[in-house]
């Protein structure tokens, strides 16, 4: 399975700055060129305090196809320090005998609206769709995030350690998505996954044409596609203007910087390979069209989201290196979801394409392991015999790859962030629950210690505060 790798936007930003600094020292001294800060809302995430922790005697799925039957994992200073069968603990380590229990990488949900469509679902909390124009690439989901959404803590109890928070799907281009650590604190920046590239939400099909059909269009699928193409054409033009500006400046001319356009800046970021497209798309034919739009404008779609018909074109998706982020069994709530089948995920996997289990739901995000379990069992029943160890890629490694954070997390490998879940039993089961959830080695959730459970501001002093949720 081929999955594109993405350069960190932050890294690109820094390198761009160095390069430009070099320019300004060229033979014809001019005003320094305009440098656009690509990270104006930098992450202020700090891992919580952790203690060295050794978990022994567990079944380990490493998230990249490996399984250790009687394994151990050692987490030190927020990183995975060792993984194997017999490990010894440092003197100050907490040692947990996990007999009968399982360890996996933390679950990463590529599709969540927590914080942008928070509970309670009042109109005041409806901050996910800037449904005022079909192309709103200029809006950023992180500016809507309410870190007090109680849903974050529910997802934590389900073993979710990172997630992408996206704008909704009303628009052709909905805006920037952001990847966060599931450690909500006082501001959105406190959650931002350090170094993660931005995503950009796009949407196929019914939603944009329904929302804009009576508001000036698009009102059809062909109108949708015209809208994407015009947006990309405008972005190409914008990118050329800036490229020309920097080239002229380097050539010693005294060019005037183009006017910044926040909408086109995000789209140009995609064309530059710094921002990853995540596209809500249900039907096989819609996805087929978008693969050609992708080629026409030379960008990469990281993942089709929802993708209920990916099973019809799994070979095409494999060829084009595009992931599918899917539910196990949602179907029928709208026409473009009518052909959903339960074997979608394993069929995509079996075709050699990148399969991801996603939620798009504050309920589903709490039980993504069960969604994977259903898909795994449904595949097995029709002869797609995928090991549990391989199937866990749907929950951690593939999401991490599609978000551009696989170097840091998404598998249990030495040196990676210690984003780890200790399950009460085989997680491919209704009855398995996370016992411990570690984020950067810190024990973020301990099912056995109710006094330690996180409670959002909203739930303080309300009925049910601190209850088992």
């Amino acid at each position: 399975m081929k999955i594109p790798t993405y350069t960190s936007a932050l890294l690109v930003s820094v390198m761009g700055g160095l390069f430009l600094t070099g320019c300004s020292e060229s033979e014809s001294p001019k005003d320094a060129p305009v440098v656009i800060n690509k990270d104006p809302f930098p992450s202020t995430y700090k891992p919580m305090k952790s203690q060295p922790t050794l978990i022994t005697n567990v079944t380990i799925l490493d998230g990249i196809g490996g399984k250790i039957d009687s394994g151990a994992i050692l987490m030190v200073d927020g990183k995975i320090q060792a993984l194997g069968e017999d490990l010894s603990a440092p003197d100050n380590a907490i040692v947990i005998n996990g007999k009968g229990q399982w360890v996996t990488p933390g679950i990463i949900d590529v599709h969540s609206h927590l914080g942008v469509y928070s509970t309670p679902e009042t109109a005041s909390h409806s901050d996910g769709n800037e449904a005022t124009n079909p192309v709103t690439a200029q809006v950023w989901a992180e500016h809507s995030i309410w870190p007090q959404d109680p849903g974050f803590n529910r997802a934590l109890a389900g073993g979710v350690t990172s997630m992408q928070l996206l704008p909704g799907s009303a628009n052709l281009v909905g805006g920037r998505a952001v990847t966060v650590k599931n450690v909500p604190n006082r501001t959105a920046q406190d959650m931002k996954f350090p170094g993660a590239p931005y995503g950009m939400k796009m949407a196929c099909g019914e939603n944009p044409k329904r929302v804009y059909g009576q508001k000036g269009g698009p009102g059809t699928r062909m109108g949708n596609v015209a809208g994407y193409r015009q947006a990309w054409a405008d972005a190409q033009d914008y990118k050329q203007n800036w490229d020309r500006y920097y080239a002229d400046h380097e050539a010693g001319k005294d060019p005037k910087a183009p006017k910044r356009d926040l909408k086109l800046e995000t789209l140009a970021g995609v064309l530059d390979g710094e921002i990853i497209v995540h596209m809500h798309c249900y039907r096989a034919d819609d996805m087929g069209t978008m693969l050609d739009v992708m080629k026409e404008f030379n960008y990469q779609i990281g993942s089709f989201h929802h993708a209920v018909e990916s099973y019809k074109i799994a070979d095409l998706l494999a060829e084009n290196n595009v992931c599918s982020s899917m539910w196990a069994d949602w179907w029928g709530f709208k026409m473009e979801a009518y052909d959903g089948i339960k074997e979608n995920i394993p069929m995509v996997h079996a075709a050699g394409a990148c399969a991801i289990v996603h939620s798009d739901s504050d309920q589903g995000i709490q039980r993504l392991n069960q969604e994977a379990a259903k898909a795994w069992a449904d595949g097995k029943r029709v002869g797609l015999d995928i090991s549990q160890a391989d199937a866990w890629q749907w929950l951690s490694a593939n999401p991490a790859k599609s978000l551009g954070i696989f170097e840091q997390t998404g598998s249990l490998e030495v040196g990676k962030n210690a984003d780890v879940v200790l399950w009460s039993s085989d997680p491919f089961s209704t009855y398995a629950k996370p016992v411990h959830v570690y984020i950067d080695g810190a024990l973020a959730f301990d099912r056995n210690d109710p006094s330690s459970w996180p409670v959002s501001d909203f739930e303080l002093g309300q009925p049910g505060e601190g209850d088992s949720k």
């Binding site: 509970t119 309670p120 679902e121 109680p150 849903g151 529910r154 019914e206 329904r210 099973y311 019809k312 069994d329 949602w330 179907w331 029928g332 709530f333 709208k334 026409m335 009518y338 052909d339 959903g340 089948i341 339960k342 074997e343 069929m347 504050d362 309920q363 709490q366 039980r367 069960q370 379990a373 259903k374 795994w376 069992a377 449904d378 029943r381 029709v382 491919f428 089961s429 209704t430 009855y431 629950k433 909203f458 739930e459 309300q462 009925p463 049910g464 209850d467 088992s468 949720k469």
Partner: protein, 426 residues
């Protein structure tokens, strides 16, 4: 003649079984009868003329029975979709046949008169898609009328036939939650007075004859008042959607004022806070045990423990509120079990409890002598997400295990390239 059909482990094997009305013996099974007989190991279920004849162990002589060997399998009553709109909706949003919503009509001022019995479509694709997952019957209701009542619901069978109604005008639904208040005056202060008035008008209409000339100035239409007759007489369950403690206490107070009402609460998100009072008032609950977020300010105390705590207090709990994916009710029940509900109670919440709630437990909901033979053979624990229905019998007949979805799957599992997909019929 005795025919021995081994229960094949592959789905393909099952699909090939002949479908015929016959006397059937399911043998070697672990049977959860959901009757007083409890769970029986190595059991034989005898089915005759579409009814359960007997559940017994060990296996008797089986002349004249088609034998199904369910060794290693689990057998349960067919699952009962506790609250659905099955047969009333094909595709909900912006498409399809939708009889689960309505707008105001001349016949009804409050929604009570609307009757889904006329609207159920047994050929809906949702029927087979749900049936192959072990759902054999369901309560079906309108989902939204924007009025005080959501009409009269029906109990349906998911058998592949043309007469799905097991019991018409089986229940009436209303809501006293935030949505209910929105539909009737925007406040609980107007909603509750309207509800009381509607019931009072139904009392008044009992036994009266109406003609188009009859003077009638109720807030309900005559048809509404007549439709509520069964409710005020206690013959037809009144389902009331409610979440918060205060609203649940209002419902308990209503029950005290009108002891004849047969009240069932939908959702009861904060039900655990008044569990004992609900049990004392003999009020059952249909809920989604996974609902653990404060979606509205009337659901702040939502918890995954709700089903377990209600059951512990003695409340009859049913699980299964969905339509397209009512097949996930078993997963919902499994998660309730994972959070404290005893396993037997989890299965009861999918079978005998909804049957009792709707007054149809004489005929369905358990595997018991004389009842309809709605029976499912599972690959293992039905509450486990990795197990599935392998054979579904309705009214004693083995049903076809294919659906629109299985055909789509089979078409695309192996796509031949010499012809376009339209020519490839699984």
């Amino acid at each position: 003649m005795r025919t021995l059909l081994k229960l094949a482990t592959s789905l393909a094997g099952l699909v090939c079984l002949p479908v015929m009305a016959a006397n059937i013996a399911i043998i070697n099974a672990t049977v959860h009868t959901m009757s007083d007989q409890g769970s029986v190991q190595n059991a034989t279920v005898l089915i005759k003329d579409g009814k359960i004849q007997q559940v017994m162990s060990p296996t008797p002589a089986l002349a004249g029975y088609q034998v199904i060997d369910a060794k290693g399998k689990v057998v349960t009553p067919g699952l009962f979709g506790a609250y659905t709109s099955l047969g009333l909706v094909e595709v909900g949003a912006s498409a399809g046949t939708v009889d689960s919503r309505s707008e105001a009509t001349a016949i009804s001022h409050t929604g009570a008169a609307l009757d889904v019995s006329y609207a159920v479509n047994p050929a809906s694709s949702l029927m087979a898609i749900s049936r192959v997952e072990g759902i054999t019957s369901a309560a079906t209701s309108m989902a939204n009328t924007s009025q005080l009542f959501r009409g009269q619901g029906a109990i349906i069978s998911l058998a592949d036939n043309t007469d799905p109604i097991l019991k018409g005008t089986a229940f009436v639904t209303t809501g006293v939650d935030n949505n209910g208040a929105d539909d009737t005056g925007g406040s609980r202060a107007s909603l509750w007075v309207s509800l009381e008035q509607a019931l009072a008008e139904a009392d008044y209409a009992l036994g009266k004859t109406f003609t188009p000339q009859t003077d009638w100035h109720g807030i309900t239409s005559v048809a509404d008042a007549q439709a509520l007759a069964g409710v005020v007489k206690g013959e037809v369950p009144l389902l009331i959607e409610a979440h918060r403690q205060a609203d649940l206490l209002q419902i308990i107070a209503l029950k005290k004022r009108r002891p004849t009402l047969k009240i069932v609460i939908l959702k009861a998100t904060e039900g655990w806070k008044v569990a004992k009072q609900l049990a004392q008032a003999n009020i059952a609950v249909i809920l989604n045990p996974e609902s653990n977020l404060p979606y509205e300010f009337d659901q702040l105390a939502a918890t995954l423990q709700n089903a377990a705590r209600l059951h512990e207090a003695g409340v009859t709990v049913a699980i299964g509120m969905n339509t397209h994916n009512i097949r996930l009710a078993k997963q919902h029940a499994g998660n309730a079990v994972s959070h404290g509900l005893p396993w037997d109670a989890g299965l009861a919440a999918l079978t005998i409890n909804p049957a009792k709630i709707y007054g149809v437990s004489e005929s369905i909901g358990s595997i018991e002598t004389g009842k309809r033979a709605d029976v499912v053979i599972w690959s293992g624990d039905p509450l486990e997400v990795t197990h599935n229905a392998e054979m579904v019998l309705i009214n004693g007949e083995i049903t076809d295990m294919s659906s629109r979805q299985s055909k789509l799957r089979d078409r695309y599992l192996k796509v031949a390239t010499d012809k376009t997909v339209h020519y490839q019929r699984p």
